[in-house]
């Protein structure tokens, strides 16, 4: 299981330009929760790399550990009940898991920033949005009140909020969800972070606003060179924004590939199930086709492959032995005994 990280570091395929060194390298991360109903292995041996200026998409069903992974990177997992059960989070070469609370506070909002799923509630209702941006700015930069305010206005303009000079004094309740998410993005990017973690940034917004926000993030990434970890359960969003994709299931990475490979040549039955559940315009189905069954409870993981109870291909070996993450090609790995699978997409 610890083998997964090592594989990506192997020599690149000959026809690919050498990748820049990763900005963030998550190695065998384990974040558990001690709860009344036993130990929850919410994140259980997750590894991935994020390269400077690139977007890594993390996709998976609800409860598979996407948010816990991102909160672990930010050092925002509540402890207790959270436990750092192992692994490394190398950011610019330093292990964030070994940092003290004060050191993490200095990194958060400065070099790593995060935006959340709930734009309606993620801003403090009692402060003006400008002041909330200024607060983060002045925490990390030696700026006077005037300069910080100017920078806040500039950030609001950057995220395309109309008349930013007046909106800077608005309260969150005077803005729509889409506008608030723009404010969150402005706040996150105010200190020019190297890495932006976006945990389902558009899930709570309606479709047109979703597209605008994703568009904005892509545009800002090109301009500012920010690396992005984009978490979603929507493969459509992944297709549009990600360079590389990690598919998570029950606290583990089950498949990892660049975005083209993932859509053209997915190798894990779970990924294939997710792909099949994307609604398509040429189909008149009213309900989404979803994968049968439910995610196993985090304190009652199946013994062998965690996906085996729901997998159409599962045999006795899958129920017995947990498959490792296996190398299938340049930068492509899947956690399945059957990979590479041919012709099962019926």
């Amino acid at each position: 299981m610890t083998s997964d990280g090592v594989l990506t570091l192997d020599g690149p395929a000959p026809d690919v330009a050498p990748e820049p060194a990763p900005l963030l390298s998550v190695r065998d991360l384990r974040t558990h929760f001690r709860t009344e109903r036993g130990l929850y292995r919410a994140v259980d041996g997750v590894s991935f790399d994020v390269r400077p200026g690139r977007t890594l998409g993390i996709v998976g069903e609800s409860g598979c550990g996407k948010s816990v992974t991102s909160l672990s990177i930010m050092g925002l997992v509540p402890e207790p009940p959270g436990i750092r059960a192992g692994g490394e989070i190398l950011f610019e070469g330093e292990d964030l898991l070994k940092k003290s609370r004060a050191e993490m506070e200095a990194i958060r909002g400065d070099r790593i920033a995060m935006i959340f799923q709930e734009p309606m509630t993620s801003l403090n209702p009692v402060y003006r949005v400008g002041d909330q941006i200024v607060e983060g700015l002045r925490r990390h930069r030696a700026l006077g009140a005037g300069a910080a305010r100017e920078r806040a206005v500039e950030m609001l303009r950057l995220v395309r909020i109309p008349s930013p000079e007046t909106r800077v004094d608005a309260y969150p309740h005077e803005m729509s969800g889409g506008m608030r998410q723009r404010v969150m993005i402005a706040m996150a990017l105010a200190c020019d972070p190297r890495l932006l973690i976006a945990d389902e940034p558009t899930t709570a917004l309606d479709v047109t606003i979703q597209a605008q926000i994703l568009d904005l993030m892509g545009d800002l990434q090109r301009r500012l060179g920010t690396a992005i970890v984009l978490i979603t359960h929507d493969l459509g969003v992944i297709a549009e924004t990600a360079d590389e994709v990690v598919v998570m299931y029950a606290g583990q990475v089950v498949e990892r590939a660049d975005v083209r490979t993932l859509f053209a040549d997915a190798q894990h039955p779970y990924t294939l199930g997710l792909l099949a559940s994307i609604p398509r315009l040429d189909e008149s189905r009213s309900r989404l086709q979803t994968i049968e069954g439910a995610v196993p409870a985090p304190n009652a993981m199946p013994k062998g492959c965690r996906f085996s109870p729901r997998c159409p291909l599962a045999d006795s070996r899958c129920l017995r032995e947990e498959p490792p993450l296996r190398d299938l090609g340049p930068g492509h790995q899947a956690r399945c005994w059957y990979a590479p699978i041919e012709e099962i997409r019926a």
Binding site: E105, R108, G109, T121, N124, P125, E135, M184, A188
Partner: protein
């Protein structure tokens, strides 16, 4: 903001009317004939009857209430039956000490209660939290007269550390401060419990709010997160809840003033009721009710000041 307060003021008019009616009615139920009290035990029946007519006590109750209303609106609360002084001036003398006592109680108990509640919430489930909960349960469940008598007995009487009878002067004199210490301590002690408990509950809720996670994600220090984002937001419900405790506070003040012979409105009310001094009792109750309304008005203003979502309606 201004219209918000005006509408609140308008709302308090029917409340005030109800209070007048209630105070008037309650005192009608009190046994004893006020005319006899005024006339004295030896007075012949003709005198009592004359006094009764003079006081309007022979008229129908509705008329009596109407007359009472008119007089109150003119600022005329009648004359005390015992001392024969104007009720309005007796009350005017008593309001100052009562305000003093409230101030001396709130000025330390509210910040301390809020502080304890915040500390408890920040240490949720750990020893400090348990201690604060224990203190507040003790405070909530101990009657104020008991605390008052206990403090009086030990600090005042046995150890002779502080005076415990009456008022010796304004707050800015040393003797004034020494005299108010015990009453303010008793009244404050019963108030800390509820304030701490409300703050803890409110803060715990805010701790889990998404915007607090955002504040942490900005890299703010935990202290800043607690003070600027948790406590600041928790104050909104706490202020409202403190307003709801205004009656509790006033009731406590009545008891405290009585125990420590503090010359305030509460003691005046109790004394007047015991002596069957109807005009004085009515006046004192009216003042207490108006203070209740005023406290809630102040709370409303604070609330509007704390929550921008209210201001902009």
């Amino acid at each position: 903001m201004a219209s918000h307060i005006l509408s609140r003021l308008a709302l308090s008019i029917p409340v005030l009317f109800g209070v007048l009616l209630l105070g008037f009615g309650l005192l009608k139920l009190v046994p004893g004939d006020p005319a006899m009290v005024v006339a004295g035990p030896m007075a012949p029946p003709e005198v009592v009857a004359r006094i009764r007519t003079e006081m309007g006590l022979d008229k129908p109750v509705a008329v009596q209430f109407g007359l009472y209303l008119v007089r109150v609106l003119q600022g005329d609360l009648g004359y005390s039956m015992i001392s024969n002084t104007r009720v309005a001036s007796e009350l005017a003398d008593a309001i100052g000490p009562t305000l003093e006592l409230m101030l001396a109680c709130l000025v330390w108990s509210i910040p301390l209660g809020i502080g304890l509640g915040t500390i408890a919430a920040a240490h949720r489930g750990r020893a400090l939290d348990r201690i604060v909960i224990a203190i507040s349960v003790l405070g909530v469940s101990t009657p104020i007269f008991f605390i008052g008598l206990l403090l009086m007995q030990w600090i005042g009487y046995r150890w002779e550390l502080l005076p415990f009878l009456g008022r010796a002067g304004p707050l800015w004199t040393l003797e004034g401060l020494r005299h108010i210490a015990l009453p303010a301590l008793s009244l404050g002690l019963v108030f800390i419990g509820p304030v701490a408990r409300m703050t803890r509950t409110a803060a715990l809720e805010v701790f889990n709010a998404d915007h607090v996670r955002t504040a942490r994600a900005k890299g703010l220090k935990e202290r800043t997160v607690i003070l600027r984002h948790v406590l600041r937001n928790a104050l909104i419900p706490v202020v409202t809840l403190i307003g709801l405790q205004a009656g509790y506070l006033l009731g406590g003040a009545v008891v405290t003033e009585t125990i420590y012979s503090w010359p305030g409105v509460g003691r005046l009310a109790v004394g007047a009721i015991l002596a069957n001094d109807m005009p004085l009792a009515q006046g004192a109750i009216l003042v207490l009710a108006v203070s209740f309304i005023l406290i809630n008005l102040v709370v409303d203003m604070l609330y509007a000041g704390l929550d921008p979502r209210v201001q902009r309606r």
